[in-house]
């Protein structure tokens, strides 16, 4: 008699559940594992599953050490046939989603829990910033470059010069997201901002101010990926297309294009539609300049008209971008920053985004970006989602 080790039914993968812990300005007694557990319980409850149903786990965190994914699995009581850990910061969530998508399709797992989160203090953050990778430790920290802010100040200066922009254009990105945040009770920074406030904010590294640099918060996000057959139909969000381009220019360019520029046409072709049919966009927003760069790379904006685009499309809400307030207003909870936009997209596509709900939202795109190899982010990815059925 043959022994059957695995007899899973493969199927069309969907996002069956999503959750985010409340983001807070400091750890407030929570640890990274406790935040990840909190998000895990939320996403499983949302999917109508229990820990016993889970057979796949992926985790992204800058502060899980000395534990790894398996230790977290043990501490959560999970028995698994699929396990991964992804250290790639702002690109980690979508990278894990890509692998999970294929694993569900292949039948390697039936219910995959993806977690991302961190409880970082400013001291943790500085240590992380100085030892991000060997190039940072050896060539940037000794300057001292002080982490990513100064590098993105230089990148923003290049972008301003290249496109003839002033600080106001980046301010429009920040103000647009802050006005979305006012509609999101979970956003950490919700106070209304004016352009005068933006221009008068304390300088971090010219031209960037405190309002251009993601505020560090503590928190975690989670999603559950299953085959469509396992998910409650009404709540499932279908994963339609995925694209990634990592180290696309070997850090020998200017950082004003991400890898998305070369993969966007394949992404839209696989999705069966273009950017004009997208209802909600979650664009990785470590700095406002990167929102504009990625929106150009994806074909939402053209380089020659970024000021008008920021004013009419973003401030005018003709295009719904980062409707939670994004990381710039909701906060960046370390590696959770890469999953924040995904969780918001799921909420929007289910019609569960409260006061900030985009009416009739059926299609979304979410991007990931990050991992400064030397001068700018080396990782880029994007996923297109739609309401199931």
């Amino acid at each position: 008699m043959d022994t059957v080790y695995f007899h899973f039914v493969s199927g069309r993968p969907v996002l069956a559940g999503a959750a985010e812990t409340p983001y807070t300005r400091g750890p407030q007694g929570e640890s990274t594992p406790s935040l990840l557990a909190h998000a895990a319980r939320g996403a499983l409850a949302d999917a109508g599953l229990t820990p016993a149903d889970v057979d796949g786990l992926g985790v992204a965190s800058f502060s899980l050490a000395p534990d790894h994914a398996i230790d977290l699995a043990w501490r959560l009581g999970l028995r698994l046939s699929w396990l991964m850990e992804d250290p790639h910061g702002g690109a980690s969530a979508l990278n894990m989603l890509h692998h999970a998508w294929r694993a569900i399709e292949a039948g390697d797992a039936e219910a995959i829990l993806l977690l991302a989160g961190d409880a970082l203090s400013p001291v943790d953050f500085r240590r992380l910033a100085d030892e991000y990778n060997s190039a940072t430790r050896d060539h940037l920290a000794p300057i001292p470059a002080g982490g990513p802010n100064a590098l993105f100040a230089l990148l923003t200066s290049r972008h301003m010069r290249e496109h003839g922009l002033s600080r106001e254009t980046y301010g429009r990105v920040v103000l647009a997201q802050r006005s979305w945040a006012a509609l999101n009770p979970a956003a950490v920074y919700r106070e209304p901002l004016t352009m005068a406030d933006y221009l008068a904010a304390p300088i971090v590294a010219d031209p960037l101010t405190l309002l251009d640099c993601v505020p560090i918060v503590a928190g975690a996000d989670a999603v559950v990926v299953t085959a469509a057959e396992r998910a409650a139909r009404r709540r499932a969000v279908e994963i339609v297309a995925f694209a990634a381009a990592h180290n696309h220019d070997q850090q020998e360019g200017d950082g004003l294009r991400t890898g998305l520029a070369e993969t966007a046409s394949r992404l839209w072709e696989a999705a069966g539609h273009g950017p004009e049919e997208v209802d909600v966009a979650g664009i990785y927003d470590d700095y406002p300049v990167m929102v504009l760069v990625q929106l150009s790379d994806l074909g939402f904006a053209s380089d020659g008209e970024l000021e008008r685009f920021a004013h009419e499309q973003l401030e005018g809400r003709r295009l719904a971008v980062n409707t939670s307030g994004g990381q710039l207003s909701a906060g960046q909870a370390g590696a959770a920053g890469g999953m924040h936009g995904l969780v918001e997209a799921v909420r929007q596509l289910r019609g569960e985004a409260g006061e900030r709900q985009v009416k009739g939202a059926r299609r979304a795109v979410v991007t990931g970006y990050g991992m400064i190899a030397y001068r700018y982010g080396a990782c880029s990815n994007a996923v297109v989602l739609r309401t199931a059925g």
């Binding site: 001291v123 060539h139 002080g146 100040a153 230089l154 200066s157 300088i203």
Partner: protein
């Protein structure tokens, strides 16, 4: 210890990079030699004034410098330098430092 900035030049194809790579990004070659480069032009400049937790004292001027030959590096700058300024680059205790080049 100081001198020009040691960039890596591929022995097979001559492509120059900084920092050093394990394999040449252009041809895949594994062997390279160091070449000290000491002149370039400031492309962008900033002054880091705040770090997470508060103001940075003293502030640190830094920028992107395009070296002769085209490689762009991040360097500490002498105060007051602006884009377009030609610089003399010194590699001091592991830090690239850009000084105003004599005109």
């Amino acid at each position: 210890m100081s001198g020009g900035l040691p960039i890596s030049v591929c022995l097979a194809c001559g492509h120059a990079v900084f920092p050093h790579r394990l394999l040449c990004p252009r041809c895949g070659g594994a062997e390279s030699r160091n070449e000290e480069v000491d002149s370039g032009v400031v492309e962008e400049a900033t002054v880091l004034e705040r770090v997470p937790g508060g103001p940075l004292s003293p502030p640190v001027p830094l920028g992107s410098v395009r070296l002769e030959g085209g490689v762009v590096v991040v360097a500490r700058l002498e105060a007051g330098m602006e884009p377009g300024h030609p610089v003399r680059l010194e590699y001091r205790d592991g830090v690239p430092v850009a000084h105003q080049a004599p005109r």
